[in-house]
């Protein structure tokens, strides 16, 4: 009998190290520190990663990017312009106060005021927010909006106590966040570390103990130092691993919702001719770039949407590398001797951005497209764009975020006449087929109909090339041996989805 007990104990003791270690501390290192803890004041991936752990939203995307309940347990259309959300009961903020419909209403209303937050564009379709009962919220839209449930999961929809929505309140919130999320704020020494502890009362644990008891966020700006820190086990998770460095550390990857494209000025010759734009795409060997510069981490595509987004058209294949065809198209368009273009990019748009543009310029030169590469500081780039001080034959390196995982949130957001890229292509203007299709899809509640409309829209993009798609980016995280992490395509680091083994 004793040997049996002893044996059992030994087996259990031996098995224990392999089980998930509850209450463990996880250290995450990103290239920069968060700028603020106010969810309305930042759309940067780096900073949003803090928000998604501290706060909750009405709806959220699960690990397979399906929309599931968050603070709201159910939602439906009451009529074409009204959505009704039923709130979860018994939710408390980290300071003990209960989360009420009043808080939700106040936060959403703050997001709707222009200039108060930087996320206002995502809430622009909302007319008003009404409280229809202690656990019922009604959102009334100006026109039918099929995306309201999705909008309740986007950046900026994090819920905090109503008292923080005042001008003074947000100043305090920016420093000492109070949310209802899986992790509560402990301390923040800027540029050094931010500490969060597991919120035992979080509704989302579903009875399980939190695998990670404490998260420490340590920003390390320099790539080399960050990689070295992981190698020395000073940190557990690092983001923004340059693809070339993947062999040095243990990594996990997933194709993401963000893609890279070149945004040409299609309002003036030579780039106003669709054949020239098509030539740009044919003259690039994207597979070679992905293989050589990004260690194969990148998914070429066409049609203007990543495969994570609603509306993605899998029938559209990326253009093959065909320099002959490119040359022919250029000649047809009237440029047998080639053209001159300038490529602009903000430094730090992405890993190896400079090198990629140089490689592309090199490839293009072989078909007569003489490209100059101009890297500029982000702020300079913005200034140039705002002042429309751009030469006629320019193009910009862009990697738009997919805020809603929906064609409307990326394609139409930037291609809208008022959008970032809309002013550079005639097809965005009212009266053009693309514009009309996208506008219609925006206000259609029936998902099947929307899918049809987007299929047509993406085909137009594929053919017209108002921007030249390069590839879908791949999320690459470096992780320590003891970490269990499934990377999300939306770049969010949600600690409650991670685990630490011995």
């Amino acid at each position: 009998m004793r040997t049996l007990v002893l044996a059992t104990l030994l087996i259990l003791a031996g098995a224990a190290p392999l089980a998930a270690q509850p209450g463990a501390t996880l250290t995450i290192s990103q290239p920069a520190d968060a700028t603020t803890m106010d969810p309305g004041r930042s759309t940067q991936v780096l900073t949003v990663n803090y928000f998604v752990n501290l706060y909750d939203t009405l709806t959220r995307w699960d690990t397979s990017l399906k929309l599931v309940p968050g603070l709201a347990t159910a939602w439906k259309n009451v009529n074409d312009t009204t959505w009704e959300f039923t709130l979860r009961t018994g939710v408390k903020f980290h300071d003990g106060t209960p989360l009420t419909a009043e808080d939700v209403k106040t936060v959403l209303e703050r997001n709707m005021i222009p200039g108060k937050t930087v996320v206002q564009a995502g809430f622009a379709t909302i007319e008003s927010v009404q409280i229809a009962g202690p656990t019922t919220i009604r959102i009334v839209t100006k026109k039918p909006d099929p995306l309201i449930p999705v909008r309740m999961a986007q950046m900026g929809s994090q819920i905090y106590p109503a008292r923080f929505a005042s001008d003074d309140g947000v100043k305090e919130l920016a420093r000492k966040p109070v949310g209802s999320g899986a992790y509560r704020f402990v301390e923040w020494i800027k540029d050094d570390r931010l500490v969060m502890d597991a919120n035992k009362d979080w509704w989302g644990w579903e009875g399980k103990t939190p695998a990670v008891g404490r998260v420490v966020w340590k920003p390390i700006p320099d790539d080399f130092a960050r990689l070295s820190a992981l190698q020395r086990n000073e940190v557990d998770v690092i983001t923004n691993v340059p693809p070339d460095q993947m062999k040095i550390v243990r990594t996990v990857t997933v194709p993401s919702s963000r893609y890279v494209a070149l945004q040409p000025n299609a309002t003036q010759p030579p780039l106003s001719d669709k054949r020239v734009r098509q030539a740009l795409h044919y003259a690039m060997d994207i597979n070679s770039i992905v293989k050589n510069l990004f260690a194969g981490q990148g998914k070429p595509f066409s049609g203007g949407l990543a495969d994570t987004d609603f509306g993605f058209n899998p029938a559209l294949k990326p253009y093959p590398y065909d320099p002959e065809r490119a040359r022919k198209l250029l000649a047809e368009a009237g440029y047998p001797n080639g053209i001159e273009v300038t490529m602009y990019a903000g430094s730090g748009t992405m890993v190896n951005d400079k090198q990629m543009l140089e490689a592309i310029a090199d490839m293009w030169s072989k078909v007569g497209i003489r490209a100059k590469v101009e890297m500029m500081e982000m702020a300079q780039r913005q200034k140039m764009l705002n002042e429309r001080a751009t030469p006629p034959n320019w193009m910009l390196l862009a990697n738009p975020q997919s805020t809603l995982l929906d064609a409307d949130g990326v394609l139409w957001r930037i291609m809208h006449p008022n959008g970032f890229s809309g002013k550079y292509w005639i097809g965005s203007q009212p009266g053009q087929r693309f514009h009309d299709v996208m506008e219609q899809a925006r206000y259609t509640l029936d998902p099947k109909k929307r899918k049809e409309l987007y299929t047509e829209a993406t085909r137009i993009i594929h053919d017209e090339k108002p921007f030249v798609e390069l590839f879908q980016e791949v999320v690459i995280y470096g992780i320590a041996k003891r970490v269990v992490l499934k990377p999300r395509a939306d770049y969010r680091l949600i600690v409650s989805e991670m685990a630490v083994t011995r």
């Binding site: 190698q231 000073e234 702020a379 705002n386």
Partner: protein, 305 residues
């Protein structure tokens, strides 16, 4: 003496004013903070609304007066990015930078002075050559290269010290070495040269004639006279030290002012840049003031100038 101090303080105030105006002008010429805060694909309306919120649509002269008035009372406005008052943001980072700069200075002086003295005393011999070789190589190595090499060799390969971050003394060593190397190199060479110059002067040969031991001559007389150029160097080099601090703080993830200032310039966070430049400039000027006052004490001739 009082007149001297008064003149110096007035001079300091003028410099502070000049720096403040310079940074105000440079910032406003150089870009749009609203554009860097919104997502890259924001619409024009969003930008306009944010600019109004940040007070950037007021006439330039009004912004300037507000800035000056605020600066006098210590109010540099609210950071666009962090939504916190700008000056406290800078000040809470200052200790980290001073710690780093101080450690670099101490390390440099502790290394360079003996090296320079030895090189001067044993001029032309192997000690001199090796010491000067170290110094010249040190000056020829870019800051970030030294930092990366140190992390690679000492931290990753040998595992002796942590890679980055601020913490106990062991985290201070690598960044301090990186930051202090250039200064140590200049100081070693300057010490050597100053000592050599002083060696050749009359009073030293007199002291030697009087039969004082070699070392008491060296330490007693020459060091005191070489002190002036050495202190000048410290005052002058402090500015370069701050420049090197930016790179060092970035590589070693050190939470100092340099890193904050550079980040803020890149995103045009005017209040923080203004506060940061002001604080850094004031520190620099204060140190120079100290140096000048020290001169006044050490060398009466200068006071009359």
């Amino acid at each position: 003496m009082v007149g001297y101090v008064f003149r110096k303080v007035f001079h300091t105030a003028f410099v502070a004013f000049g720096v403040a105006t310079l940074v105000f002008a440079a910032l406003r010429l150089s870009g749009d903070p609203a554009a860097t805060m919104l997502p890259g694909d924001a619409s024009v309306d969003e930008l306009v609304a944010l600019r109004r919120q940040l007070g950037l649509d007021r006439p330039l002269w009004l912004q300037y007066l507000a800035f000056l008035g605020g600066a006098l009372t210590g109010d540099f406005g609210t950071s666009f990015r962090h939504q916190q008052p700008a000056l406290p943001l800078v000040l809470e980072r200052l200790p980290a930078t001073l710690e780093l700069a101080g450690a670099a200075l101490v390390l440099a002086v502790a290394l360079a002075l003996p090296l320079g003295i030895l090189a001067a005393v044993y001029r032309g011999r192997i000690v001199d050559v090796v010491a000067m070789a170290f110094a010249v190589v040190g000056q020829a190595t870019p800051y970030f290269w030294m930092g990366i090499m140190l992390i690679l060799v000492v931290s990753v390969e040998l595992g002796w010290l942590p890679t980055s971050g601020r913490g106990g003394v062991e985290r201070l060593i690598l960044p301090a070495i990186t930051l202090g190397t250039h200064f140590a190199a200049s100081l070693a060479r300057l010490t050597r040269t100053s000592m050599l110059e002083v060696f050749g002067q009359q009073f030293v040969t007199t002291a030697r004639a009087k039969g004082l031991s070699e070392w008491s001559v060296v330490l007693g007389h020459t060091l005191k006279n070489a002190a002036v150029p050495i202190i000048t160097l410290i005052g002058l080099q402090f500015g370069t030290l701050l420049g090197g601090a930016v790179v060092t703080e970035t590589i070693f993830a050190w939470p100092g002012v340099g890193r904050l200032a550079v980040q803020s310039v890149f995103v045009r966070d005017y209040p923080v840049v203004q506060a940061g430049v002001f604080v850094l400039a004031l520190t620099f000027v204060a140190i120079n003031l100290l140096v000048d006052l020290l001169y006044g004490v050490l060398d009466p001739r200068i006071r009359r100038e």
